[in-house]
Symmetry: C2
Subunit: 351 residues, 2 copies
């Protein structure tokens, strides 16, 4: 794993992005923003799942009143997501947004962009320059360049314009639905701009393909030290985006929220019904906050080895489970008691 890229941090509400700050997890509501109660309820679920920054779309002016109420009541910093109409961005900045996200491809004239920059400056909030392959300006789209170069050209051009107005509270993103284009674009951006990078694969698809594409793309970038805040895009409940984002960070030992579960794939050697045991342990571990390593293993090949390396583990076989704690076998229990016994030993650790 490579060292983290250095960047100039910004603050979104109370959450820093960039510099030495932990890589922040974010998501986006998919409720109707005009329905403040539904949107706040979804924000509360996202916060419970570990979301740290939430983005909310403001498609039309009739969402602005609700947006201000959402910002006032939200436990998480709220980012206003604006397209096409710069006046919405200005009103969102005045209404309590902790950050604005605009897209250089579709916000209109330089004068309109400048008005947004000035509004963000007055409100003292950062702006994400959020370039997206699906919404490049016509001028950039027609350049004779590969897609990653177009994304970066668009982002850099906008950064330079912000700097020319004396504004540098910037976060940058440049997303494509192709993993390789996304990775290539962020590698270039990491060299070209000093700002924190918001990373994500856009329109990544449903739970299965979206989880895989996001894990591959963000995994490659994060392993290279690139990325200061992550958004996983799934055509699914946004809570799932947060769970996947945390799993990606945990997979690379960047951040961990709660225990790690090691469990074997089961094979013809497995003598207990391991899949439901592992799933039940996973479910109960969600209530445990500490970063324990828990192993649930179904046979004698790798079972004792993994169970011994974990904080708590079980190596199961022939209808019984041997529970290991801190490397030592401590109990032997029948299959039906494995989950309870594991959880008791975890509780006994006092974590």
């Amino acid at each position: 794993m490579e060292a983290r890229r250095t960047s100039r941090p910004v603050i979104v509400g109370s959450v820093p992005i960039g510099g030495l700050a932990p890589v922040a997890v974010q998501s986006m509501t998919n409720t109707d923003t005009r329905d403040a109660a539904a949107t706040l309820a979804q924000i509360a679920r996202l916060a419970d799942a570990g979301c740290e920054i939430v983005r909310v779309a403001i498609p039309h002016a009739d969402a602005l009143d609700a947006f201000a109420g959402i910002c006032a009541a939200s436990a998480l910093p709220v980012v206003a997501d604006i397209h096409f109409d710069h006046r919405l961005a200005i009103e969102a900045a005045r209404g309590g947004a902790a950050k604005l996200r605009i897209n250089p491809g579709n916000i209109g004239s330089t004068e309109k962009v400048d008005a947004v920059i000035d509004a963000a400056g007055e409100a003292g909030i950062p702006v994400r320059i959020g370039v997206n392959a699906g919404s490049l300006s016509e001028r950039v789209r027609d350049l004779d360049l590969p897609l990653p170069d177009k994304l970066v050209a668009s982002a850099v051009e906008f950064c330079e314009h912000f700097e020319s107005r004396g504004f540098s509270e910037i976060v940058v993103s440049a997303k494509a639905s192709s993993v390789s284009s996304t990775v290539a674009a962020y590698r270039m951006l990491a060299e070209r701009v000093p700002y924190p990078l918001h990373i994500g694969v856009t329109e990544a698809g449903t739970s299965l393909s979206g989880t895989v594409k996001s894990s591959v793309g963000l995994g490659i970038l994060l392993a290279e030290g690139i990325g200061d805040t992550v958004r996983v895009s799934l055509t699914a409940d946004p809570v799932d985006e947060v769970l996947v984002a945390w799993e990606i960070l945990a997979a690379l030992d960047i951040r961990r929220r709660g225990p790690e579960l090691i469990s074997c794939p089961t094979c013809g050697r497995c003598e207990v019904d391991l899949i439901p045991i592992a799933e039940e342990v996973e479910r109960r571990l969600r209530a445990v906050g500490s970063p324990l390593k828990v192993a649930v293993m179904g046979c004698v090949v790798n079972g004792p080895g993994e169970a011994r390396e974990a904080d708590i583990g079980v190596a199961a076989g022939k209808g019984v489970g041997i529970i290991f704690a801190k490397g030592q076998p401590v109990r032997k229990v029948p299959e039906a008691q494995i989950v309870d016994a594991l959880m008791e030993e975890i509780a006994a650790l006092g974590t």
Copy 2:
């Protein structure tokens, strides 16, 4: 993406691994091997899902008869997975295995290993030297080295022993349950041995964490050109392992089995109920064999851009969907007809 590492190919049944061969997808049965009918039924399901090589455990001698029958009837080449008892490996080679997988940490004395090598040589089949962090030999486990170095030392030592017997039909793996240890081990192995590499993160966990860990770990390696055959380990139905493996290969444009679905995460801007539409399209696309790009988008921000770039796409809004084919809008349909209309346009492409 880096160029593929060169390696000396081997043939497993009819499937080449290494060299210029496509990265092969494999999985492992979790039925009781003694139940040949159940194991063959699972192999058929795995083959339907795109599995190209299947591994079967032989825990005890009483599985050998069934194993020979499975090899004879299987549509996929069958790899015999053997631990502890070298006689099982010898009998499996004679019984029709297309490859043996043994583990240097637990097969016993040099004489026993030599007997396995000779049996593989006589049967004309390759052997995978499958090192696993959970089952290192005591001698290697006690070396004062980081885990990845231990894994590689164990694998290289075994390769050299095979070579000293004149046997080089070798595939190598060195798996850990930690993504970073796995990646580090394979990067070293790629430099140290000329053989094809079987890559995987072992004991990766349940569907969610296992999918993410495998996608991150295998994604990093494959993007560096490392990996000739992949096994995703999930504590779940092995068919899911195959689906995830294909999604990883597709995410990096290495191989694709059927269409790619681009779909947006939905947000407060979405005016149709997109999640079930995307899921239904994903389900129906499984019957389409060609590598089409299909976009299912919920609003006017990135929708028309992505739909235009896809072979077939829909940009939905306000209860209707505009269907795009080859970059041009071709139909406008009510929300309830979006899926049918998309599938009709796909059929009309004649692919």
